[in-house]
């Protein structure tokens, strides 16, 4: 069992009533709504044997709460030092040291330009937040590579396609022939 982190984008309104239903069902999720951009998503921190198990169970959570799903996405790119430490498999104190010193993980002096640990998205004295793709690239360059996200992308795309097919199913003349194409 591992921690699986991903997001499901809502296709319709995500209001307090639906959030109540989601939190009644699970405590390993968060809901974020951006009215100005017309988007809302549910982010999951779910322990499951595989990513696909986690995503499918998340889909069931939204189904039960009456929240339509527009798509599946990877985790929020903004991460804390604790998240970086977990993904890098290092103690958070070590990661905090990297961030503070701006030196490579292998201890070599940082090149004058671009060699230091990525700067936080915005300076914060106690809770800096970093852009994960930048940090992952830095880790990869400095011998602390994290697992590739390629398999995760395939899983997320497959679930997205399945959800699109599910949405189309009521308008199809017959579903079984379509389903037969999968095997």
């Amino acid at each position: 069992m591992m921690l699986r982190q991903f997001r499901l984008y809502a296709s319709g309104p995500l209001d307090d009533e639906r959030a109540d239903l989601l939190f009644d069902r699970a405590r390993d999720l968060s809901v974020e709504v951006v009215p100005a951009e017309g988007v809302a998503w549910v982010a999951f921190d779910r322990v499951a044997p595989t990513l696909v198990d986690a995503v499918v169970s998340g889909v069931r959570d939204l189904d039960t709460a009456g929240v339509g799903i527009a798509g599946v996405a990877g985790d929020d790119p903004l991460v804390t030092l604790e998240v970086i430490a977990t993904r890098a498999g290092r103690p958070v104190e070590v990661v905090r040291g990297w961030a503070a010193a701006g030196i490579p993980a292998d201890g070599a002096p940082a090149p004058a330009v671009g060699g230091g640990f990525p700067a936080p998205v915005r300076d914060h004295p106690r809770r800096p937040v970093f852009h994960w793709p930048d940090v992952a690239a830095w880790l990869d360059r400095h011998r602390a590579a994290v697992p590739s996200g390629a398999d995760a992308e395939v899983t997320l795309e497959a679930v997205t396609l399945a959800l699109r097919l599910r949405a189309l199913a009521p308008r199809l003349e017959r579903m079984p022939p379509i389903r037969s194409l999968l095997y």
Partner: protein, 62 residues
């Protein structure tokens, strides 16, 4: 959660989950109201930190 003071977001605690709202754009974040300390608490704190950063420029400080 106590670290939210001064971050430019409003926190409502009248539900069994917490709602953090951006007074600038009306965006909001809902997180579980009670989580055990440790990893679960860190994961919720991370969601709050990311939300605060996203709304740092449209909150009260603008």
């Amino acid at each position: 959660m106590h670290g939210m003071t001064g971050t430019g977001v409003d926190v409502e605690r009248d539900r069994h989950w917490l709602r953090l709202s951006c007074p600038g754009c009306r965006g909001w974040l809902g997180v579980p109201g009670e989580v055990p300390p440790g990893v679960a608490g860190q994961l919720v704190a991370r969601r709050i930190d990311a939300f605060v950063q996203r709304h740092a420029l449209c909150g009260r400080g603008r």
